[in-house]
Point group: C2
Chain length 226, copies 2
């Protein structure tokens, strides 16, 4: 029997493209590294408000860099990421409240579907430049990921209930307590220690902390231990 799995809490919002990159890397390495990956849908707007941080794209030169950076990283990470045409409206105005509440409700009832539905939402907003704020958009993503129309509607009806709202708030507060000031935030529990890792660019450091091998964002041995 191998050692007990190490636990990674992955705090993310589908509004965050770096969260998507990090999510895919963690999904790829989960079994290679034998870690327990806990997906934690979080509200990025709540993290920003609580920490006093501002979205980097608000600084024009950072906004320009972000675009170029993501355009290079999508190739390196092999994630089909595309910048939405109307970034400010999609990311800063419409936001992700309904989508993240939906993922929260899903995580409470059918956690085994969380990975797939999260990915479909990212595919909409960060690949095909499609809406994720309207109920129909969320239903479409959920069904494409494999939920029945009935399951998807059932979850959608719950996104404004107190338990779902309070659960999303609690997860967001938990991220803040770990020290998050943005997303993605990976909290690694390894050898009795807790490390907060910010962004998609600390995955090699995570491998180092786990004592595992880093083989780049697209591990060639992806299927070796699946």
């Amino acid at each position: 029997m191998g050692p007990l799995p190490r636990t990674l809490e992955f705090f993310y919002d589908v509004l965050s493209p770096y969260s998507w990159l990090c999510f895919e890397v963690l999904c790829r390495y989960r079994n290679i590294w034998n870690v327990e990956l806990q997906l934690r849908p979080t509200l990025i707007a709540g993290i920003m408000k609580d920490s006093g941080n501002k979205p980097p794209a608000l600084l024009p030169r950072k906004g320009q860099y972000l675009k170029n950076d993501l355009n290079l990283l999508k190739q390196q990470f092999q994630v089909p990421l595309n910048f939405p045409k109307d970034f400010y409206s999609v990311i800063l105005e419409k936001g992700s409240m309904s989508a993240m509440r939906f993922l929260t409700a899903l995580n409470m009832e059918q956690p085994e579907m969380l990975e797939k539905v999260s990915r479909e939402l990212w595919m909409r907003v960060w690949s095909r430049d499609e809406d994720i704020s309207q109920p129909q958009s969320i239903l479409t993503a959920a069904e494409k990921a494999g939920l029945s129309a009935e399951q998807a509607r059932g979850l959608l009806e719950k996104i404004s209930t107190a338990p779902v709202k309070s659960q999303l708030r609690e997860v967001t507060e938990a991220a803040c307590r770990y020290g998050a000031f943005g997303l993605p935030a990976t909290v690694a529990h390894v050898d009795g220690q807790t490390h907060l890792l910010f962004g998609c660019d600390r995955m090699e450091l995570l491998a180092y902390l786990l004592g595992e091998k880093w083989m780049g964002p697209v591990p060639p041995a992806l299927n070796a231990r699946l």
Copy 2:
């Protein structure tokens, strides 16, 4: 004969610990990757002013993260980095104007010494918590790196001259024109394209752009092609 070396312009300030990490990685890979590494002493305060960016440590939660992050990265990168006790005074008040002017003068007269003196200045401020703002501090670093007392004093006398001040300003403006909003900024000229890479965490992406192998921040084959 191999292909012509690809050129990397490395914009840095010794006040920036992430610049030190990136500097060491680039110095380690320079010959392995067969790239021409051009060290560009830059004034981080000038970059911040011009871009409207703020030092991350001013946001308390980022400041705390930075400390933990650097404490982990120093192990992974094998760079003897230590946080100065009085961070705000050393980094935000005293700054690096004299040190960066000295490196600029050095680069104009004895560029072959730039790497060693830069490293000695980082060793002072970011390893041993020693001053780098006073003339004697800079002289000590320069002599420790191998300059004669006379050479060091000669350069120090020039740091307030127009050519040196204007050269540092020009390099800082060049970084801004490339889109820099902080340091380190690595500008990679590869296959007729120019890429700005920010921070110490795009070195694997740089390897990808160069079509070279990334072997982590401490390449095992460090001496293979030296």
